[in-house]
Each structure stands twice: as C-alpha cells, then as structure tokens.
C-alpha cells in the first residue's frame, strides 16, 4: 500500500457493483460468511477479536469498541440491547449514509455479530428522520436477511435469536449523543442523561446497552472474517488501525466519501483524492472531522488524519468528515454559520449550552452586522471556556466551544478586522423573539 494510494476498498467494496444493496450481491461477495464464523465462536472470543483489532469507534469519540463491549455486565439477569447509531447529523459527516446506500447488508451482518458478542437479542437502528430513503433501504435489507435465516429465531440453527428494528428519529442532532438517542428510542425528548450510570450498565429501558456507530459495526464482519491482526495492520500506526471512510466536502473539486487506511495525511486527502481546491483558489483552513472539531489552518495540512495525530495538533479526528475552506471564506461568517447550527440543536436542558450557544450566535451576528466591540472576543472566549470541559451534561457544549476557541485562535485577525471597522452599538430596539429557520411551529 503506497502513501496516499488508494487501498483495496473494504467498507465500500460493493461500490459500483450492480444492485449492490441486494442480498444476492452481498452473498456473492462472500457476505454473511463472517456471521457463520462468529456464531461457532463463543461470544467472548468475538469480543476478544474485536478488542485485539484495535477498532476505535467511528462516530467521533474514537473509544475502543472492544473495551466498550467489555463494560456490559455479563451476569445481570436483564436483556441487553445493541443500538446502531445511524443518526448521522454532524455537519461534514456523511459516511454512514454512504455505507447504507452501498452495502446495507454489511451493516446488518455487523449488527448481528455484535449482538451475538454482547448477548443482545433485540437491536435497534436509530436513524435520523431525514434519512427516509435510507430507513427504507435498511428495512428492505432486514426483511431479506430474515428470509434467508440470518435474523429471527435460531439463526443458522445455532440457537441464537435476534430481531433488528429500525427506529426513525424526527429531527434533532443531539440524538446522535448516545444517551439522548436512548431517551429518543424510549419515546421521550432527546435530552442527554446524566452519567454515570453509563449505557453499558443502564441504557435503553434500564438495561445494559451498547451504542455503536454504523461504520464501526460495518467493520466488525471484516475483523471476524480476516482476523484482528489483519485489521490492525491496516492503517499507519497501531493505535489508529483499520480502514476509514473520509468524507470530504466544501471547496474541493471532487467531494465525496473515500475509503483509505487510517493515517493518510490531509494533504493526500485534499489534493490527491478529492482533486484539490477549486480553480483559482488556495486552501485556507479545514475542519478535520465534522464541524465540532476545532478548525485548523492550511499549515496543518501535512499531519496524518487519525485520532492521535489530530489531537496532537489541537483538534479532533471526530468522524473523519473533512470540511475544506478555500481563501474566499470569511471565517467570521463560517463560525456564525456553525453557531446557528449549534444553537438550533442545543437541547436546552443545561444552562451553559442553552444560553451560551445562543449568546455566542448573537455576538457573532452583531459583529457581522458591523456592531462588534473589542470586548466581544473576550466574551466569546469566556463562553467557550465555561460551556465546555464538563460544564455541560453532554459533549454538545464542547462541540460548539471547540469551533469558537479555534476560530479565534487561528483567525483572530478577521474578527478584529470586523471590529476595527465597526460602528458603535445601535440603540436598543425592543427585543423580539428571533424567528428561527426550522420546521413547523418552532419557538412560539
């Protein structure tokens, strides 16, 4: 495998195949072979294989999947649940949708093997409400798998039972947070829970629950089929193993999802795979892994795109959703755009996030309208300090504070330029409730 060179696709191997979603295509490519192999192993063996592979969660946090499974108490007389997190909503992230569109059976097989590994007999796929088509694709795949005996009771005559249900969300980014997702499955407002207890012990319906991302689960059949060592060998260092789906969007010539070994550099991603920056422009900045990850300026383009290297650079690898911005972008505008997203998506239960996200948005809007004040940048920094780092119940606080602090760190001059040209504050108008872009009767 050469640096930056395309690898033989694993997760997207069916891309371009005729009728790639159908079970016959999947079976032709050796699908459900891993399931047969897993079901004659004992569950602990499956767990060990996944742990040894070094697979880290692909939803954004990068937590080792095998370790997460290990937190499920084995001796509790309660049902256990597996939840597949398909609530892909982080701006810049669209890889799970690609898996579902290309190869839904790979995900189904991953769910079955993972459920077997943690002794779950019901699994839910929580999919964002907007993914209506994708939910239908999954339901069709589940029905196919059921007809072939890969789902239902006594799967492949091994005595293992499993049902998978697709549960559609209804428009809330926060439901990608695993405890908000659990609340949403339980039929409640999607508000994250206080932790501890963690879902592995008290999850959905009060039972031990594992929540794994689509891409994470899609890796599982390959690990079982080819072994932990094979998986761990993919990728450029041992703590960041396996294939990775990189979603590249923004100002590149060929945006899309690319499957590459973990650890490819951002330069390779942007210039070799995504075709470089559009004509007449140059790279200005990029957000490495979904909008919550702190922005990095162009000088960081040579770092490897993996969990640890990006963390060293002061950002996060997140979900691998790379947003590329060229030199035409007004960074104050970009941050305002992101804060519009986060204040719209804050669930509102805890104070720093509810108040801080909206307050930061108000300040950014005012700066952009030409009424910024020098103190505003300090206030933004203060907000980003006190709405993150455990001040909030869930990571949404960190998710909007990372952008604030990183935009200010790397592009402070652009904010200062706005403020230098600013007019004095206009007299207070009668405050009115801003109308948000949203669906339905939002607000009041």
């Amino acid at each position: 495998m050469t640096a930056g060179g395309a690898m033989k696709p694993i997760l997207l191997r069916a891309r371009g195949e005729d009728k790639s979603r159908s079970i016959s295509t999947y079976l032709r490519m050796g699908g459900y072979g891993a399931l047969k192999k897993a079901l004659i192993m004992d569950p602990a063996g499956v767990r060990k294989e996944v742990k040894d592979s070094g697979l880290r969660g692909r939803g954004g946090a990068g937590f080792p999947t095998g370790v997460k499974w290990g937190f499920v108490p084995q001796d509790l007389p309660k049902p256990k649940y597996l939840i597949c997190n398909a609530d892909e909503s982080e701006p810049g992230t669209f890889k799970d949708r690609a898996i579902i569109h290309t190869d839904p059976h790979m995900l189904i097989e991953g769910i079955i093997i993972s459920s077997y590994a943690i002794d779950a007999h019901v699994a839910y796929i929580y999919i964002r409400g907007e993914f209506w088509e994708e939910a239908r694709i999954l339901e069709k795949a589940i029905a196919e798998a059921r007809r072939k005996g890969y789902l239902g009771t006594n799967i492949l005559r091994t005595g293992f039972d499993l049902e998978i249900h697709v549960h559609r969300g209804a428009g809330a980014y926060i439901c990608g947070e695993e405890t908000a997702l659990i609340e949403s499955i339980e039929g409640k407002r999607g508000q994250p829970r206080l932790k501890p207890p963690f879902p592995a012990v008290v999850g959905v319906f009060g039972c031990p629950t594992v929540v794994n991302n689509v891409e994470t689960l899609a890796c599982v059949p390959h690990i079982i089929e080819h072994g932990a060592a094979w998986f761990a060998a993919i990728g450029r260092n041992e703590r960041n193993s396996g294939p990775k789906l990189y979603g590249i969007s923004g100002h590149v010539r060929r945006p899309g999802v690319y499957e590459l070994p973990m650890g490819v550099t951002f330069r390779e991603l942007i210039y070799e795979h995504a075709g470089g920056i559009r004509e007449g422009h140059e790279l200005k900045a990029f957000i490495p892994g979904g909008s919550s990850c702190p922005v990095l300026p162009a000088d960081f383009v040579d770092i490897p795109a993996d969990f640890d290297s990006v963390a060293e650079a002061g950002s996060m690898f997140g979900s691998g959703g790379l947003i590329v911005m060229d030199d035409s972008v007004d960074m104050v505008w970009a941050l305002e755009n992101l804060m519009t997203f986060y204040s719209h998506e804050s669930c509102g239960q805890c104070t720093p996030c509810r108040e801080g996200s909206d307050w930061a948005l108000d300040i950014l809007r005012r700066i952009r309208r030409g009424y910024g004040r020098p103190e505003d940048l300090e206030t933004l920094e203060r907000i980003s300090r006190y709405a993150s780092q455990g001040m909030t119940i869930c990571p949404l606080g960190d998710a909007f504070c990372g952008p604030i602090s990183s935009f200010l760190k790397h592009f402070r001059n652009e904010f200062e330029d706005y403020i230098a040209k600013a007019k004095p504050l206009p007299p207070r108008t009668t405050p009115v409730l801003p109308v948000r872009s949203g669906r339905g009767r939002f607000g009041i």
Partner: protein
C-alpha cells in the same frame, strides 16, 4: 453513615445522600436551582458545581452521592468562577425586572447572584422574550412569565412525580424552550399552586398572592393547615393584620414540601370577621356587651339545671378540647359531641412520596377522638340539637358546614344558644349569646393530624377587637363554673396538663413541639378513628 469533609468541616451523613444535603448538614450552602429534595435529580442548572479531591473535573453536587472519606471543596477559585459563569449564563437572557417582579425577595436568582455571582454582565444583546407568555394565566391559580424562566423543570417534575397529573411540559427546545400545558389547556390540578412554590424564580407565581405584599415585609407564622385532617405544615404569611397566603413548610412525615390548593386558598377566609365584641340578646335583640357580662350569661346558661348540650369542634386545638373535656366530658350535667364533616377527600404526598389522605375536613378530628369525644355527622348533629329543650353551647359556629345553614338555625328554635363565632350565620342570628371567636392565626395551640402527629400552630396575630380563642373562653368559663383550671392561662399550661393526663400525649413537651415538625402520638393509639 459515612464521613465526608466539606470545606474543612467533617460531617457524618447517611450513605447515598448527595453532596448538597451533606453540605447542608455541615452548615455549608451550595446554590441549587433544578435540585429539589422532593424531586428527581436532573443536574441541569449546573450551578451546584463543587470540587472533589481526586476528581479532575468539577462535579455537580446534586448528582454526586457521598462516599466515605470524600473531601469536598465548595469555595475554591475554580468553583467560584464556575458558579459565576453559570449565574451569568442564567442572567444573560433574564429580564432583570426585579422591581416589578413579585418573586423578588424570595428569588434564588437574586439571592445566589448576590452571594455567588458577579455584579455585572457581558451581555449587551437583546434578551430573549416570549410574547404572549409574559403574563399568561397558566391555570386558575398560577401566572406564568416565561421571560424569567431558567428552565430548571422543577414545575414539570412536580406534575409528573408528585401530583402525577402530567399537566406541564417543556415545549420546543434549546434557548426557545418554554413551559406549557397541552394545547394551552388550564393547569388545574388539586396541587397546582405548588408549581409556583417550586419555581425558584418569578416565572410562576401564585395568582391570589401576586402584588399583595412584598415578601420581605411579610411576617411568616409557622402553623398547620386548617383545611383537613392531614394537617399540612404551613407558614401563614401576613402583614399588618391581614393574612395574605399559606405556603407549605417542609415536613417529611406529613406533607413533604407540598400542600393542596383547597387548603392553601383558605388563607383569605382568615381575614373575615363579623363579631369583634360579645353580643347578648336583650329586649332589642342582640346587643354588644362586655366579656364579663357575656361570661356571666354563659354561666347562668350552664347552671340552668337541665343538661347543657355542648357542640365542641374538631377545628379546635388539643388544648381547647382538653378544657372542654375537663369542663363537660368529665363532669355530669352536660352532653358533648364533636361534629365531623367528611367533605371531599384531600390528600398530599409526604417526603417518601406516599399519599397521605385526609379523613375529613377538620384539622383536629383525631385530637378530638383521642380526647374521648363522640363524633357525629350532619344527621347526628341535627338530632343532637333537636334532641332536648335545654341550653346549647356551640364552641365554634363554623365547626361544621351544616351549622352555617338555615336548618341549623331552625333546629335550635326556641332554645337558648350560646355560640362562639367569627362570622355571622343564621345560627348566630338566632343565638342568645354570641362570643367573638379568634381566627386560626389568632390562636395558638397543638393539633393532631390523621397520621397521628401532634404539631404546634403558632399565633401570628392578636385577636381583632375583643375576640378570644376557644381555649381562653373555656378557661374563663371553667373558672366561672368552679372547675379547677391550671394557671397561668396559656396554651402551654393546658398542653402540659393534657400531656400529663391524656395518655396519647404522654411525654410530649411544648419545647420539642416548638422545634420539631410534629411528634407522633403513642403508637397504640395512633390509628384511632
């Protein structure tokens, strides 16, 4: 029990309590908004951050249970700065309309901002407003001003966990979320005003109390709700002789932190008074007179020869009932009943979230039974009044709702009736002697709830005019009738005499009652009636 150290104070607390309660036990106040000891912990407001040795991040005290040996710091710079930040966030969109806000003075946003916040804000942008929900009648008793809401969800949790009526919900989300009822239906459940009690700010206020008094002017008198036999522990808020409100006071065994609307809104009734001096029937009908003349007339009535029929009251204190027992029950020549009106069942949850239901609409029917009185219902009462030609003494003209009816007046036609009363009724119109009776807040004494707990209700106001409480009327009458009455004439004297004499009250002391939220009567008699 585990030992924890809070700001250098070592304290022993029960296992499982959270750091807010542990700190309280150590005499340290940790600010809280969403935390309420009677409601589920949600950890949402984030103001109760503390530092725990060995934990890298600040933790919310409400959601952190104590562990043995825990060392907690609530006053470090980190904690102080975090609290300041949270308070600034909470105030960022708050209207700061304290001068026109009725919660001012008992608002935790004010208190904690002063104590733990900063004196300025970085907020210069327009504040959030909720047009149409700024003076919104949420229900018959509760007014909403959503602009002031800090999203603590205590009110919602109250309707889910305590009243179990599920009327309130958070609608929408994020910064625009607001409290509401389904489709704007009125918030109307038997405990609806409690949502204003739990509201730490001025977002929900009690309609009946709004703008009647600034709370820092208000005198609060510890008392017991007169509404039913549950006997919720309350404070009576009054100012310059006017009663303005009842609010529940924490009592784990009886009413937790709650009370029902029926009891709460009896407060206004305490302000009514028709009789300020005794009135005696003369040639020109009922005429004002003095207490000396009145007591002489009462004695005359009692000594007329034929048996005196006495209607005592389940609304009277234990001390008054004890005197009634000495005067009438323990001596020949009188028949006594206590009328009991079942009425509607009122109930409330205690701190263990068990329902405590009232047996009737009297605050001391249990005390009357423990004292040995016979209770009667409406029919029994009417039969009692019609069942003779002798004089009648009614200790409280409002002791039973039937006594306020025309039939009650007809039932005593032609009989000489002495009645102690605060308000005029057909019965007082027909009476021979009317004694001005002190109101609930003008009386001091103990009451026995249906759960068998004795509580002390304090006097908050001197009786208006020449009105006297029932115990005093009975003590004076006792002297006139030659019954030995312990001195000095105070409720405490009679309570101690009662405790010495009536077994269920044995070993109780006034001093304990003054400091404890009720003492249970002896177990074996706790469930009489």
């Amino acid at each position: 029990m585990v030992t924890v150290t809070i700001d250098g104070h070592e304290v022993q607390v029960a296992e499982g309590v959270n750091l807010v309660e542990a700190a309280r036990a150590a005499g340290v106040e940790i600010p809280t908004y969403c935390y309420h000891p009677g409601l589920r912990v949600v950890g949402q407001c984030r103001v109760c951050f503390v530092e725990v040795e060995g934990m890298p991040r600040l933790v919310t005290a409400c959601s952190t249970p104590v562990k043995d040996g825990m060392v907690v710091n609530t006053a470090s710079d980190r904690v102080r700065e975090a609290r300041q930040a949270v308070l600034e966030f909470l105030l960022a969109n708050h209207p700061l309309d304290c001068p026109v806000c009725d919660q001012a003075g008992e608002c935790y946003l004010q208190d904690y901002s002063v104590e733990f916040g900063t004196d300025s804000t970085h907020m210069v942008d327009d504040r959030r407003r909720f047009p149409g929900r700024e003076r919104n009648e949420l229900g018959p008793h509760v007014i909403q001003n959503q602009n002031r809401c800090i999203h603590c969800t205590r009110c919602i949790r109250f309707t889910q966990e305590i009243s179990e009526t599920w009327d309130l919900t958070m609608k929408s989300r994020g910064n625009h979320a607001y409290i509401g009822t389904f489709d704007g239906e009125p918030l109307d459940n038997p405990w609806s005003a409690c949502v204003a009690d739990v509201c730490p700010v001025g977002a929900l206020t009690v309609k009946e109390f709004r703008f009647r008094a600034r709370v820092w002017h208000l005198d609060e008198t510890p008392s017991v709700c007169p509404g039913c036999s549950v006997g919720c522990t309350i404070d009576i808020g009054h100012l310059e002789g006017i009663v303005h409100r009842f609010t529940p006071r924490e009592n784990p065994e009886i009413n937790g932190w709650w009370m029902c609307d029926f009891g709460r809104f009896l407060a206004e009734d305490l302000n009514g008074r028709d009789f300020e001096v005794p009135r005696l029937r003369g040639e020109r009908g009922l005429q004002d007179t003095g207490w000396q003349e009145a007591m002489a007339a009462l004695t005359e009535l009692a000594e007329v020869g034929s048996p005196l029929r006495v209607v005592a009251s389940a609304n009277a204190t234990n001390e008054a009932l004890y005197l009634a027992k000495r005067l009438f029950l323990d001596r020949p020549g009188a028949e006594v009943v206590v009328p009991v009106h079942r009425g509607e069942e009122h109930r409330v949850k205690n701190a263990q979230r068990q329902w405590v239901a009232g047996a009737d609409e009297h605050p001391n029917s249990t005390g009357a039974r423990l004292m040995g009185f016979t209770t009667v219902d409406t029919e029994g009462l009417e039969a009692f009044l019609r069942g003779g030609r002798g004089p009648i003494l009614i200790l409280d003209g409002g002791a039973h709702p039937w006594l306020l009816s025309q039939e009650a007046a007809r039932a005593v036609t032609g009989q000489k009736v002495a009645v102690a009363a605060r308000k005029a009724s057909p019965l007082t119109g027909a009476a021979y002697l009317v004694l001005p009776l002190a109101s609930w807040i003008e009386t001091e004494g103990t009451l026995t709830s249906s759960t068998g707990r004795v509580q002390l209700a304090r006097r908050g106001l001197f009786p208006r005019g020449q009105a006297k409480p029932a115990w005093e009327i009975l003590a004076l009458a006792g002297r006139q009738l030659g019954v030995e009455v312990p001195t000095p004439l105070t409720p405490r004297t009679f309570f101690e005499a009662m405790a010495a004499e009536v077994p269920p009250f044995a070993a109780m002391t006034w001093r304990r009652l003054a400091t404890e939220p009720g003492i249970p009567v002896l177990e074996e008699v706790a469930h009489v009636g």
